[in-house]
């Protein structure tokens, strides 16, 4: 993989824990790769599978979803529902050979600024190894 490949990564984070994590990271002056684009949603449970698919079709190389730790969801069960949805999306992508590991789901609590920055950096490395998303250059999608 060429060194100058800068993956485009969409980081879905919920308003409560995920974004809180990024605030804590900024308070501690922790850096994450600038090609990771934060995208705030009210709750991970509100993310439709179509949003993720749309992101892929429109040229994202990878997607991370961060919600609250189990039991911490502001709406009680949004993160559990999101986890099910991610599980089904992964198995759909897997059975079609579309690379399910371009989607990550990780819990990041409000105080876990380091975990937030680490996740972004780790995922960035991971996608760099995978290479660009083959969907994005196709005219026919």
């Amino acid at each position: 993989m060429s060194e100058d490949f800068k993956p485009k990564i969409i980081y879905f984070m919920c308003s409560w824990c995920g974004t809180g994590g990024s605030e804590t990271a900024s308070a501690h002056h922790l850096y994450y790769p600038e090609n990771v684009i934060p995208f705030r949603v009210n709750c991970t449970g509100a993310i439709s599978p179509l949003h993720l698919l749309r992101a892929f079709v429109e040229g994202a190389d990878g997607i991370v979803i961060s919600g609250c730790h189990p039991g911490d969801c502001h709406y009680n069960d949004g993160n559990f529902r999101a986890r099910r949805r991610v599980a089904s999306i992964k198995s759909i992508l897997d059975s079609l050979g579309l690379g399910a590991d371009r989607v990550w789901f990780r819990y990041v609590a409000h105080g876990e600024g380091k975990r937030f920055a680490d996740t972004a950096a780790e995922f960035n490395e991971h996608i760099k190894n995978l290479g660009p998303n083959p969907l994005k250059e196709r005219k026919e999608t």
Binding site: E58, S95, G97, W104, R138
Partner: protein, 372 residues
């Protein structure tokens, strides 16, 4: 084990006799079944209330003009039928109806579900072109012999759920050797038993629906299923393959309109939400230098997979209506099987079991939360 009712007619006449009994004894108010309307109108589902219409009905006719699950959902969407109705449908249609009922798109209250061990149905095109009627007698013969008839829908050739699980009454068709002379009817539930109370016929002892013959057919169907999946696999459904397979798509959205699981009033893909801003097109052009029109066909099919794969009953309507012969159903059943396996869920099996996408457990998919 279900009780067995034996009627001394062939399976076609026997089923009609059962329907005649239900109507004339006023056990049910009406029956939803396939009916030959006129040579021009052809075969279609009808709601009949008069026993005199029965000679024109073809309850076991091997055709699925539309998925009866969808029809039943429309009948019961705004509330249960005030008077009991019976419906004769294929197993996958019953499963579709159960799935819809679980999603609050109808209800099984006051509905007597009659089904059959299903030898498969013909593609719709054959009934329109008139080639179906000549094939009928050899179709019934092959059903007696437990064979997979060569001209049924390709989805049916790979269907392993041909024994209905949720029907109240099951007519034994596939795997019934003497279906010309006698009609074996399984009374699956107490509801089914109470409806046929008083019918003339011998009530034999209890018996399992599955037997050596159905097992034999199951093995053949499993083989067919493997073949069907191998065909999908051979097209390499990675991005390149998908672009090739769905490249023919003309964007008519017919597959979603006939799909029993696609019940949304307004589909996302037909809505304004799916219309792009000029900036979006511009971005597409920047990214790719060109665009297929209509755009987003792969997106559409993947999106539909995300919505329906968990409940896909494998009825094959989607492939059947596709004007450009995309093997939609083969892909959907293959992906559906993987997703359903992951959630250990069988669509249409248990009406009490919630649909996985609407529920969750706290202790599950641990590996996903700790992704790395």
């Amino acid at each position: 084990m279900p009780k067995v009712l034996k009627l001394s007619q062939g399976v076609q006449e026997g089923t009609k006799e059962l329907l005649r009994f239900l109507l004339s004894e006023e056990k049910v108010k009406g029956i939803v079944t396939l009916k030959e309307r006129s040579p021009q109108q052809g075969m279609g589902y009808s709601l009949i209330t008069n026993p005199q219409e029965l000679p024109n009905t073809r309850p076991l006719y091997p055709l699925m003009p539309s998925n009866a699950g969808k029809i039943l959902s429309h009948l019961t969407l705004k509330g249960p039928s005030p008077q009991p109705l019976a419906v004769v449908a294929k197993p996958c249609e019953i499963r579709a109806f159960i799935e819809l009922a679980k999603r609050a798109q109808g209800g099984v209250e006051n509905i007597l579900l009659i089904s059959q061990t299903c030898p498969g149905v013909f593609p719709l095109q054959m009934s329109v072109n008139g080639g179906l009627k000549e094939k009928l007698s050899s179709y019934w013969k092959s059903a007696q012999k437990n064979e997979v008839f060569s001209e049924i829908r390709s989805t049916c050739k790979g269907c392993v759920d041909f024994i209905p699980q949720n029907a109240d009454i099951v007519v034994s068709v596939a795997g019934s050797k003497d279906s010309e002379k006698e009609c074996e009817i399984f009374l699956n539930t107490s509801k089914g038993e109470s409806f046929v109370e008083g019918i003339k016929g011998s009530k034999a002892a209890e018996k399992e629906i599955t037997n050596k013959q159905t097992q034999e057919l199951l093995d053949k169907r499993k083989e067919g299923r493997k073949k069907m999946f191998d065909q999908v696999e051979a097209e390499k459904p990675e991005i390149e393959g998908l672009v090739q397979i769905f490249g023919r798509c003309i964007g008519c959205h017919g597959c979603s309109h006939v799909c029993p699981i696609c019940y949304c009033d307004l589909c996302f893909f037909d809505s304004q939400q799916n219309e792009h801003l000029p900036q979006t097109f511009e971005r597409y052009l920047d990214l790719r230098g060109g665009l297929r029109l209509p755009p987003d066909t792969v997106f559409y099919h993947l999106g539909r997979l995300m919505h329906t794969s968990i409940s896909c009953v494998g009825c094959g309507m989607c492939s059947d209506v596709c004007p450009v012969d995309i093997p939609v159903s083969s892909i959907f059943t293959k992906v559906g099987e993987a997703v359903q396996k992951k959630f250990q869920y069988t669509p249409g099996k248990d009406i009490e079991e919630p649909v996985p996408s609407g529920t969750y457990k706290e202790e599950e998919f641990k590996e996903i939360g700790e992704q790395s």
